[in-house]
Symmetry: D2
Subunit: 367 residues, 4 copies
């Protein structure tokens, strides 16, 4: 197993470390006939690229995706789509100092305990660079979903204590600021807060919210493979995520049934709709036709330059001050990663849903 495979029908395997030759992903199970080119993938990778603002690491990476297989004459062929991004800028020397030291808040000690050794260069496999494979595969999932009229959009909901004001929320404003907040005023205050964090050699956390529109009712499997359970697993698998909630989430635990239930109504066009959306678009693990909306809590970046106490491989207590290039907050660059995981999850469930009931033969080719 070893954890680098995701999905049942639309299935991906990612690979690569922070300071190895590159990172990549292979997708098996993308349906044939979808238009796809490198640019479709590159536009998503560009959104997670480092070096875009003073709040993201200065590491210079082109992060150019090369499409190696699975596309012929501009269309997917139904066979595996391999994507690779070569690493360009690896200053491994930065990491020699922490070779034997367990950085607080990082997985260094856990990897050592699990594997008996670890690639100490930039976190190795546990580096945020691992998410390039997710984003590249997610781009293909987005393309597939858009064919079926489904749109996935994530954005920064809050950084530290500074949240988007629901009154000012405007998704169209998300890309006007480096923090990907759909509220320009909140973005300015968050930027000031992050400048303070940098001065204080500290870091901040935040919340990403994700909106999925266009999912028809009936997607998701009962019991263990509920659509929201799958989304939770997908999003919690992103490094630094410590919480997940859908619809009203933890607030629902303090609510009452009469307030939390969404009443249905038959609309004039013959569809079943809901007056409210406390459920976040999923009931009993299956989409209810409403917008799907969920949130992910990200912890503060563990790499901070102020001194910390810790231990090393030799069981000695030592002090560490982490040098190198680190974002004071991971949230802005994680937005596109959350989108990717949501898109991969919904794409996989959408393809699975075709087998839910009998009807015309599943695949009686017209040939």
């Amino acid at each position: 197993m070893a954890g680098s495979v995701f999905g049942t029908i639309f299935r991906i395997m990612t690979w690569g470390e922070s300071h190895g030759k590159g990172v990549g992903v292979t997708i098996d199970g993308c349906p044939a006939g979808l238009s796809l080119c490198e640019e479709d993938i590159q536009q998503y990778l560009d959104r997670r690229k480092p070096g875009q603002s003073r709040f993201t690491t200065a590491r210079q990476e082109g992060d150019q995706a090369e499409l190696l297989s699975g596309v012929f004459e501009g269309k997917t062929t139904g066979t595996p789509i391999a994507l690779i991004v070569r690493n360009q800028d690896h200053r491994s020397k930065d990491y020699k100092a922490i070779k034997d030291v367990y950085r607080p808040g990082h997985a260094d000690y856990c990897y050592d305990a699990k594997y008996g050794l670890r690639d100490y260069r930039g976190g190795g496999r546990s580096s945020a660079r691992e998410t390039i494979g997710r984003v590249a595969a997610g781009a293909v999932a987005h393309k597939l979903l858009s064919h079926y009229g489904i749109q996935v959009d994530a954005y920064t909901k809050s950084i530290g204590e500074i949240s988007v004001d629901p009154e000012s929320f405007d998704l169209a404003k998300r890309d006007t600021n480096h923090l990907y907040m759909p509220d320009e005023e909140a973005a300015k205050r968050a930027a000031a807060f992050l400048d303070q964090m940098i001065r204080e050699q500290d870091s901040a956390g935040g919340v990403v919210e994700c909106l999925i529109r266009g999912v028809p009712a009936g997607i998701g499997e009962p019991v263990f493979d509920k659509l929201d359970a799958s989304l939770a697993r997908a999003v919690m698998s992103i490094g630094a995520v410590k919480g997940f909630e859908i619809g009203d989430g933890f607030a629902a635990a303090r609510s009452r049934g009469s307030a939390n239930n969404d009443e249905f109504f038959a609309a004039s066009d013959g569809t079943i709709q809901k007056h409210t959306n406390h459920s976040g678009g999923i009931l009993g693990g299956i989409s209810d036709g409403g917008d799907i909306i969920f949130r992910a809590a990200f912890k503060p970046t563990p790499s901070i330059s102020r001194p910390q106490q810790t231990a090393n491989r030799n069981r000695e207590n030592v002090e560490i001050a982490i040098r190198g290039r680190h974002d004071p907050v991971v949230v802005p660059r994680a937005v596109v990663v959350v989108e990717a995981m949501a898109a991969l999850t919904v794409a996989d469930h959408l393809l699975m849903a075709g087998a839910a009931k009998i009807g015309r033969p599943a695949n009686r080719p017209a040939l």
Copy 2:
């Protein structure tokens, strides 16, 4: 797929509906040599049984588990362990009235959209009765984990706005009250609140917290099968759960790196430990040797007897008042279900972890 399978090595499949002949589970992959009897399972089923207090449905079910296979001379044989609980008390007539009506907050409409038909008796497969299979399999997982020194305990953290007081927290007090709160004073206030809910024909939500002790460092797979991602999926797959968080969870999003990082130290016994546990026992998806602690948010019971507006299969807008037997809160009976899902998840990861590094041959029998 269809969602009723959980786990990779320690793998279960559950089955059964609220008003069918029974519910059950089969476990494939439980290691041979574990002592197991029906009583090991029954004690967990008894904790989720209805009819234990005025806050749980009056439905009378013996819920007696029958062990059908996989155990010989008191020990597991390594082959599938099948467990069945017969349904006894099914008053299907209760549900005729809602046969064609989509209950707010329930999955009725979603099942219809997905399958083109549904078992309308008590929610069918989406009934909370489905959790019997989880609890029965979880009991076996608990037995396996205890062999390795691992203990899983969940409890009610809050009901509505009433929370356990951290100062009064005493796990030993959990089973002294029907709400499974480890704080007798909070339990009394919560009981009063629930009485009010019953009077107001309404319902409440709440939070379950789970503590897992004894997990060695190094359990969990990187990237997509992180231990916390697996726990999130497992717990979010329980009906009515709307949120999951580990360690400091959503509060971590408002914290700072300097406060949120847990500093390591080398203890005098040669082990690596942490001064604090903001991480909740997992870093980078792999256990760090500390206690694992997570919370799940449950929404209020959607079945309330006060009238609600909704729609039916014929696309007519109708009013519904749900009769029958319903808990004003699902949390107390869900405690043992959360424990079960946690135990199943950790057991599966523990067995997987044996393949992480080379060493002595994985299975060189002594015979």
Copy 3:
């Protein structure tokens, strides 16, 4: 894992031992809307039942299937279908004598080596009784396939050296004799041969052939999940099977390309067809629209009453003469098991095939 799960979308888990409380299977992923009743399953179980002729064990088992879940008002609901068959006639005392002895040709020693213990009563999980779960699930798969115009038929091709004469082959004659041979003359000679085997306290092997009609072109996945590879795994997983071949099979290895290639032609109805069928209906792992035809080689029943040399758990060399009820050949009762495994395999691939190319949304419910 532990091996008792089969399939990806149409997924089953079987359980049960020869002398436990019963055997059974749960099916997860059968599409909703299929008509199904116990009689659909019973008719297949009756074909594998013991005690039907002097060549099958005299063990008296009703082998009545009970349908426990997943069907409502005569239709599958899309949720798990649980089936159980209680064991009735277990004379465990028959097996005390071989409790510590490793029977030649059986898995006794292998189970002991793997698990450190074994259920010695009648082979436990390795008993042919395990196939009841396969046949019961296979019956559901047959029902699903027939909805799509697919028919699976197996028959005895040979017993020992006695084969069906291709000139006399008549599938309609298969059920006229207890050996399930579609050639009455061959069946008579095989019966005489088996009488001889009984007299000589010996046993025979044989070959089962399976014909699958109506599979459209395009079913099967490339590379590792080829339809023929999946069939091979499915059929080789039946106890006592030692070989599998499709189309011309091993004879193809002695043929030439010019003779072995099936030439295509465009038929007057616009379909692509083949003049011959050396391929056995599958090319590159994907169905080519022709009949699928494969064969399975069964070894002679290992339980024979003549004395054999062997060893026991205490590492002593001993002599054994197996008492009890044993068929002189397993082939006739295995015919329906081969059919079941073929049906399960094709059903799973058929459901998977719906995701091969983009088109109308996979599941845009009409509701």
Copy 4:
């Protein structure tokens, strides 16, 4: 799904087409701590490389493997191992002529029926070039198995009617001839036969045999994941394989129990052994400690230059004469592919076997 994933714990995903940018494989689940370098992989790739004799296609490919991830300081880290081989020599123009024509014996028509389009250049994904990923991953599996004392060796058993003489069998002679036959005299006769096939614009099939030594008793899962069933699926998934048999295989179907049973004995060293090996080293799906031995039947190369009748995409009947570079027999180059699939299968089962029984904690790190 889509078929390009193999294995449960030691899991691989392959990708790539004949005339795309390259082919490759990623391995997830290789235990940490194994010494590994590119040369370990290259030596196996060199054995399947084209252009080595007059019986293999003249296509010139360096087939140099590049190791992209998962190895640090010469050891596997437990994270995914990505391997890529760039395609160098693609004369796509060779294939324009057959763009719309369905070649007899190839999967052209089946891919079109399944996907609605196909990469017609050299068979695309269905090309034998796809096996590079298998061989590269197999090389890592071989390295892992050798750590546990397990050795996998395949060889050409027959080409057309010409078989290795059991009297002359000498595994050490296998690599002395381009046909990989462990009998130099048979190799000479086979070479003459293949020259004849080339003159006659025809092709031949053959049989590959594989010997696996050193597998301890107890490896393999019961019921559906029997070790021999897994091997059958693995080997039947290689293009052109039409049959699989283990031990005495189809001959066992004509044998008797008294002759086919392998009697056990307790050896003086306290181990349980068998006097004979009709079983081929597996009983009840679980290794019995003896050598595992199986055979695979390969059909004749379907690409022959003599004219054949067929149909095209436009439903026209046409004649085709296949130009380009094609082996008169695939068997010699397939030997290393069979070895790879066997090694991958045994490695995965070996890692799985560690979870069969309880004992010391599966992973209690010494840290």
